[in-house]
């Protein structure tokens, strides 16, 4: 597995003031595979993804992508690295000052200097792939429902055919049917591109659907990882408690301690 590992995190640590958020993360993602990181709120899932993107700088540890160390990259090298990424944000994070098609085409027009007309054609094609017709293209994000915003966000994430895609809670806040639609789109898009993906979620239905491998994060550490189908037989009490959603178990919510 290590030979074709695409993204490797070694002992990544990050603290905000006295609060240690990442406590030595070790994670390896094989090329073209989908790893889903599960874990409760506030366990460091989002911070982990942001350290890979370089939005947050880790205090120590190493992150390599295709064998190249990426922590501490600056300027042009960092821009070049970011061109290889796509990301779907939890709240879709669409630019509300721009119409839908410009949102999708944004990375092409601004980041890669694609002519607007070509970028528009690509945007229409990507919108079609996520099941949105041309009538949506001229609308503004505020005019769309939550599920449609997520789909536009997905179209934007895949617009530049990235080799690595991050999904931050792709199904949070959607009804179960729309959640499944998004899951299917995620699986389709990833297959079509052959991209390596890391998703973070606490929705187990979503995790089972989109994951090749599942890793569980707790208190800033990966405490278990394995193939997606073995998540039910992990024998790990933390994982069991999480996937069955029990209040009792080794994971104590802060509210219970108080």
């Amino acid at each position: 597995m290590d030979e074709n590992a695409h993204i490797v995190l070694k002992d990544v640590r990050k603290a905000f003031g006295a609060k240690k958020v990442l406590n030595g993360i070790n994670l390896s993602v094989p090329k073209g595979r989908s790893v889903v990181v599960i874990g409760g709120s506030g366990t460091g899932k989002s911070v982990m993804i942001k350290t890979i993107l370089g939005i947050i700088r880790p205090d120590s540890g190493s992150i390599t992508i295709g064998g190249e160390e990426v922590t501490g990259l600056r300027g042009k090298e960092r821009d070049a690295l970011l061109q290889r990424f796509g990301m779907l944000f939890q709240g879709a994070a669409l630019f509300d000052s721009l119409p839908v098609w410009e949102n999708v085409a944004f990375g092409l027009i601004q980041g890669r200097n694609t002519p607007r007309k070509d970028a528009r054609d690509i945007a229409m094609e990507k919108l079609r792939q996520v099941g949105l017709g041309p009538e949506v293209a001229a609308l503004y994000p505020a005019e769309l429902s939550g599920g449609m915003q997520k789909r536009v966000g997905l179209a934007r994430a895949i617009a530049a055919d990235p080799e690595i895609i991050f999904f931050d809670e792709p199904t949070t806040g959607l009804d179960p049917i729309m959640a499944d639609v998004i899951n299917n789109l995620v699986v389709d898009c990833v297959k079509r591109l052959g991209a390596t993906t890391i998703s973070i979620t606490h929705d187990m239905a979503s995790a089972r659907k989109i994951a090749d491998r599942i890793a569980m994060i707790h208190k800033g550490e990966i405490i278990w990882q394995g193939p997606a189908r073995s998540v039910d037989t992990s024998g790990n009490p933390y994982v069991d408690q999480f996937i069955h959603g029990r209040a009792e178990g080794p994971i104590q919510m802060e509210i219970l301690k108080a």
Partner: protein, 257 residues
């Protein structure tokens, strides 16, 4: 001991804030004002900062010029110096009131809206999204706003100067009984180019302060709607205070020349 601890906390918080503003200025200058330049964004912001502020700034200047003429007439009449009205109105508007009042009005209008806009973009992760789309937020958001502020504020102040002097002229000729030709002639005779340019230099600095503070507080807002509200207030208050402080410093510098 408690008092000392509190004092220390306040001092540390202040120093942290200053440090983070200095880092922000460094990033804004080194990343925001170097190529790639987003021309479209700059034009859009110039429209927003400059053109849309015209009514507010124009009205402020007009009424200030008029009130100034009345006050100087009243003050001047106590030692038979009513004839100075036109000169003092022109000097007061171009050197001081034009740039400062325009700066304060724009701080309230534009500084607040920049902070609210960028603050909302921050808390809804739109700024992070920019980064993931290989677009540097400093170049795309901060740079164009600062450039727009530095370019449009002097233009706004130039217009405010004209309207302010006109306000003084209207009051002077309509209600104070000045001769129209004499009023214009004495304004033109005594007003020097340096009076106007010193005001325009101030305006450019104020434009920088307003947009910088708007961007800084927007970028650093956190915690949803309340955080954005706080960022907006801080942007307006800090740019107003910095404008008044910078005005004093600039006046002393330009005065000694």
């Amino acid at each position: 001991m408690n008092f000392l601890a509190n004092l220390g906390r306040v001092v540390l918080a202040l120093l942290t804030e200053i440090g983070s503003i200095v880092i922000f200025i460094k990033d804004a200058l080194l990343q925001g004002l170097t190529p790639t330049i987003y021309v479209r964004q700059i034009l859009e912001q110039m429209l927003r900062v400059g053109y849309n502020s015209l009514p507010v700034v124009g009205l402020t200047a007009f009424f200030t010029g008029g009130a100034l003429a009345l006050q100087i007439y009243l003050g001047g009449s106590r030692f038979n110096a009513e004839s100075l009205v036109s000169t003092i109105v022109a000097l007061g508007i171009t050197r001081e009131l034009g740039p400062v009042l325009a700066g304060l009005m724009v701080a309230g209008r534009v500084g607040a809206s920049i902070a609210a806009e960028l603050g909302t973009m921050r808390v809804t992760e739109q700024i992070d999204a920019l980064t993931t789309l290989a677009t540097n937020p400093f170049k795309y958001l901060v740079g164009p706003r600062i450039i727009a502020g530095v370019i449009t504020l002097p233009i706004l102040v130039g217009i405010a100067d004209t309207i302010g002097i006109m306000g003084g002229y209207i009051v002077g000729t309509r209600s104070l009984g000045f001769n129209s030709f004499a009023y214009i002639k004495s304004t033109a005779d005594f007003l020097q180019l340096g009076d106007v340019t010193s005001g325009l230099i101030k305006a450019a600095v104020f434009g920088f302060i307003i947009c910088l503070m708007g961007c800084y507080h927007g970028f650093h807002s956190k915690g949803g709607a309340q955080g954005v509200g706080r960022a907006t207030t801080n942007a307006v208050v800090s740019s107003a205070i910095l404008i008044l402080a910078a005005n004093f410093v600039l006046t002393s510098l330009l005065f000694s020349e």
